[in-house]
């Protein structure tokens, strides 16, 4: 796993932290912490894009954020886990894995 993909992992992890923050924030200083997390998150996002194609990084970022938020709602906030959600989460995973494999093959072609 390259250093750039480590940044992709970090930006996705911090994205899940602030999505969680949005769900639980209740007093003003919570929002100060959340803004801090978002700044760190966007720093990792920009580091990931230095070497990898921005389109790839952003698609993975959106995918993990959406799937993660849906799972968080089910696991922590009592949302229903439906067959439709399972289907779309699987679809997202298939897309992300294929995108990563596609970029491994074309590495070097992209500036």
């Amino acid at each position: 796993m390259s250093k750039s993909w480590m940044y992709v992992g970090l930006t996705c992890l911090f994205e899940l932290f602030w999505v969680y923050g949005f769900n639980v924030a209740s007093i003003w200083w919570h929002w100060v912490v959340i803004v801090g997390i978002i700044i760190v998150d966007f720093y990792f996002l920009s580091k990931a894009c230095e070497k990898l194609p921005t389109g790839t990084v952003y698609a993975v970022f959106a995918a993990v954020g959406t799937a993660g938020a849906a799972l968080m709602d089910v696991l922590l906030f009592d949302a229903a886990f439906t067959i439709h959600k399972v289907f779309f989460i699987l679809l997202i995973i298939i897309g992300v894995v294929n995108l990563k494999l596609a970029d491994n093959k074309s590495e070097g072609e992209v500036g």
Binding site: E50, P53, T54, Y58, A59, A69, H84, I92
Partner: protein, 106 residues
């Protein structure tokens, strides 16, 4: 009005992705930082405003689908990122998954 706001939010998101590209790979100057941070900032503000007119899950689904697909397309067309078929199909699958998931999450 609601859909107009969602559309503007998606355009702002694409501006943010362009800023992200230029900030990461070109110069970390004030202009690129503003495009990057301002684009995403406006995108969230406009999306939030659209929730007054539209159901949250539907507005979010359309926004993230348009923004993600647009962000990838802009990078392919204007910044020369790879256009191989597997990459395009993978992004389409992600957009379908993300949009669908948001649409079914009330």
């Amino acid at each position: 009005m609601g859909w107009f706001l969602v559309f503007l939010a998606a355009v702002s998101e694409i501006v943010g992705v362009v800023g992200l590209k230029m900030y990461s790979t070109q110069k970390k100057n004030v202009g690129n930082t503003l495009l990057f941070v301002g684009g995403f900032g406006c995108a969230f503000a406009l999306l939030y405003a659209s929730f007054q007119f539209l159901q949250l899950s539907i507005a979010y689904a359309v926004w993230i689908g348009m923004g993600t697909a647009g962000g990838v397309l802009v990078n392919m067309i204007y910044f020369g990122e790879s256009r191989n078929m597997r990459r395009i199909i993978s992004v389409l699958i992600i957009v379908a998954g993300v949009t669908g998931l948001k649409a079914v999450s009330a």
